[in-house]
Symmetry: C2
Subunit: 565 residues, 2 copies
């Protein structure tokens, strides 16, 4: 058995690049990408990627060179997902919501060789480059180490805005369509670099391998059961874990990418009606955009649209409203380090018989591991033992498998911290239900430990979120003289002044165990958020800490409650 050797015919390095080559062969005349008035076939998209790759080689991009890009969901960003690695480069799609300082840090840390900038982001990029130049000068680094800047003009309606010598379409035009990319020697080679949003620490550069990306893509199109001829709307930024791998996945299925510059209600409804969208991914905030759309922005939806979403579980009423509109939601859980979603809540037909609110509860769970993960566990942080499948015992979620990142770029310490005894530590806590489905309860650091009880802040938030007057809420730990920590809720009301702290506390007492009820409610105009829209709980914890001094016993907290909470 051992004498049979690997050869070129039976051992080909795994890479998402095989997906587009295959698509150009077997789906050659099907529509690959649409954007405004622009439409390509898979044969054309592949040719454009070949041209891009050959131009990048011409610009001296070699293996492991980082190619950064600051762009919305336009065709160029899609093409870079193939063209950059075809040239041997590593794609670094930057979050467009970051500020110049953050972006300059990323360019410097990644030593980006090329910096693609969509015309809309030219002002931000200019400021970024100014900061970067100053920094590099301070370190006595020469101008040559600045990335080469290439602007991406709008392909449908060119604006003429420029930054630097080159424009993206020039690269395409001058490229060689006969160039089919560098031979990939090792599937462990890097394909992409994605910086974490860094809610709690400095952004870290997460490196994906060709192997990991291939496996994650295969597993996700399978886990979500994405069909052939899928029409995929780009409502999720491609810079989020390479669009949760669906940049590569749509090529694997020979589907159609519908690109939109902005995730507005009008753009989404228009695309659905015009291109018969079947699939889209998005954050739960997009649900509100769709529900609150004005009549002139809406279009009639004639067939089911599948949505894959992550983040906070949407409440039952929201799910129902969305389904009435024609959107069928699947909940997932992931993180940058796991090449996007790691768990998908696979729906079971028998659940269709259940009452809607029960369905919503099942749907709010994050579900089962994707196939590329060899193992998932939820374990007690102290004993390292698996928690029982009881739906209540909380533990840390740990993952193992070939779709986990290679590690953090130039950060051995953080890489070593993330991997422990053969597992990747997510830092998230959850439970395993009796049917094997996992439900996330919180980020490890967001768990509130009160009187020895672990309280999930997410759980309190999701209950409070159902209060009719509450628009948004975030719950954090607040020091408590008796219980060590206790929950403190920050609340944004739909209409300021429409309710009071004690009214909300009475509501909480009615809907959650007493020990979970926040000891304090703080009304705020808005919650502090980072570049990707995540609530910065660290900030809130600081506020909560200062509040503690002034804490008074809430009205409902009678003396008879002594000894319990």
């Amino acid at each position: 058995m051992n004498r049979l050797q690997k050869c070129l015919a039976n051992y080909v390095p795994l890479s998402p690049l095989t997906f587009i080559k295959r698509a150009s062969m077997v789906y050659s005349n099907r529509t690959s990408v649409v954007y405004a008035g622009v439409r390509f076939t898979w044969r054309q998209t592949y040719e454009r990627c070949c041209r891009l790759a050959s131009s990048l080689r011409f610009l001296n991009v070699v293996k492991n060179d980082v190619v950064s890009v600051l762009a919305p969901n336009v065709p160029a960003l899609y093409e870079m997902h193939f063209g950059v690695p075809m040239a041997g480069g590593v794609l670094n799609a930057i979050n467009t919501r970051l500020d110049a300082r953050n972006i300059a840090n990323i360019l410097r840390h990644s030593e980006a060789k090329i910096f693609f900038v969509d015309y809309e982001y030219v002002p931000l990029a200019s400021e970024t480059l100014r900061l970067l130049r100053t920094e590099l000068k301070e370190c006595s680094i020469v101008e040559d180490d600045m990335p080469l800047v290439i602007v991406i003009d709008d392909i449908d309606t060119p604006t003429g805005v420029r930054l630097g010598q080159w424009e993206y379409e020039q690269l395409i035009n001058h490229g060689n369509p006969q160039y089919h990319g560098e031979e990939l020697e090792d599937e462990w080679d890097a394909i992409a670099l994605n910086y974490t949003s860094g809610t709690t620490s400095n952004p870290k550069g997460v490196v994906y391998s060709h192997r990991g990306s291939f496996l994650s893509t295969m597993s996700l199109i399978n886990g979500w059961e994405m069909s052939t001829e899928a029409v995929y709307l780009w409502s999720l930024p491609m810079f989020h874990c390479n669009g949760w791998t669906f940049t590569w996945g749509v090529a694997a299925k020979g589907g159609t990418n519908v690109c939109i510059r902005k995730t507005t209600a009008e753009n989404i409804y228009m695309s659905i009606s015009e291109h018969k969208v079947t699939h889209m991914c998005c954050a739960p905030t997009v649900f509100n955009i769709l529900i609150e759309a004005k009549p002139h922005e809406r279009r009639k939806i004639t067939s089911k649209i599948n949505i894959l979403t992550g983040g906070a579980p949407p409440p039952a009423t929201l799910l129902e409203t969305m389904e009435d509109l024609g959107f069928y939601i699947t909940h997932a859980y992931g993180l940058t380090e796991a090449t996007g979603p790691a768990l998908v809540c696979e729906w079971q037909t028998k659940w269709n018989q259940l009452p809607k609110d029960h369905q919503a509860k099942l749907k709010a769970r994050q579900g089962v591991s994707i196939l590329s993960l060899a193992d998932v566990n939820v374990r007690n942080k102290e004993t390292m033992e698996s928690v029982p499948h009881d739906g209540t015992t909380i533990g840390e979620i740990v993952l193992r498998g070939s779709s986990i990142m290679k590690g953090y770029l130039k950060d051995e310490k953080e890489t070593a911290k993330a991997f422990e005894k053969g597992w990747f530590l997510t830092g998230d806590v959850g439970v395993i239900h009796t049917d094997g489905y996992i439900e996330i309860k919180d980020r490890s650091k967001d768990v509130i430990i009160s009187g020895g009880e672990n309280i999930s802040s997410v759980e309190i938030e999701s209950i409070m979120f159902k209060h009719p007057d509450i628009l948004e809420t975030a719950v954090v730990a607040m020091p408590h003289p008796r219980w060590g920590e206790s929950p403190c809720a920050f609340v944004v009301l739909k209409k300021p002044g429409s309710t009071t702290e004690s009214e909300i506390l009475v509501y909480c007492l009615k809907h959650m165990p007493k020990f979970m009820v926040p000891k304090k409610v703080v009304f705020v105009k808005e919650l502090p958020k980072n570049g990707t829209g995540k609530v910065m709980k660290m900030e809130l914890r600081k506020v909560a800490k200062s509040l503690q001094i002034f804490e008074t016993t809430p009205t409902y907290n009678k003396r008879s409650d002594k000894g319990s909470h």
Copy 2:
């Protein structure tokens, strides 16, 4: 980028074994296997596999040891697909239609350490063992080199039939459920050994790696779009390329395996009605079994059943009849060396608008490569250039990718012949249509070269097959004084004497180009077939060669046809 190393958390060898471990976690209470009155959940099946693996270790099975099995589609054979490799062994599922001589050859060539025998095959196995013992003695090999024989009694209705000391359920009972298998060190390690049917030469032992099987499984559940909660009927023998990888695939999807001992109309219809079967694979001969079922064998089919089939493309009328019955057919193409299907005819929605006979034509094509294949090509055997996508130019189909076999066991010469310049040569010829779909025209050696024209015998056969009086037909090359070769058709009539040679030739002339019309029609009672039911064209070619002497110019072949044919 290069400094980031593989570790246990981010590099796990790919193996189908992860599917069943995952199934036992996330689909623990769902039904895994049903067989007659027996029913298991995924937790139970996993536990049984663990027990089996631990017992095999107890019986001294170590890494790379071959474990052979002669059994129909019973739960034991399914469990061996996981239990044997968990112990480090290599599963060798033997075609039950072979004779004792063939099976003895396989046991000897593979050096099988264990030989599992279903109770029904005890007489065949006894004869096999007698032959093997004689052979080994002749080579002065000691008794110790005989495989250990373990009988598999019927799990639902034990018969008491025994051969050797052990019975399968004993192994299960004595096994350790806490044993989770040997750690897989290298995904290139062997998992299965399947002998080719050998229509033209000695059977060859095709070795699959864990990596190849994992990738092939992932690609096939994707290419066929097999859904979660699939109920898969075992109408295809598991010994055919490990059931075209669906042994592992059903575990990946957490579906249900419906095992049947015999592929009869009654068993199939009963299973469909009782277990709500959604998917099945089979050879086209099973279609006739289903269509010709007697009224008492039939059951009403209430929801669509997906069939994946290979082999000769079924004619339009047959497809239509099958669809009327509730069976929706997808055509595929594969071979043992490619871990089963390599091409799947992905259906396109727009084709639903076409007339039924046009749909049948599209459905008869073998389609597009599965995702684990990095590349597929159809190339001219002399120039090695790709054929144009024109649907008419014939070339050899060559494959490359990680789901191709490791090679042939102990046969370096044949392995080297199969792999050439980075490709696996299928020996099959076909065309690429303008839409990128591949259609197989023939086995290379079955192409008839007449007057410089390549004639596909399969094409003639599929046209003749539509003749209302013809039950079966096989076309081979016959030497021809003017054209070098010419087609000779062997025909089995539904009712002997119902038609004549000249009537059939007139029919052919009406439905195919003149050069393709057989120069001779031979009526036979039945076609010579090998153990797997494949027509042995080599035999027919011998007959055709002898016929040539007596050939007379068929009546339609007038003198005016000189210079053309």
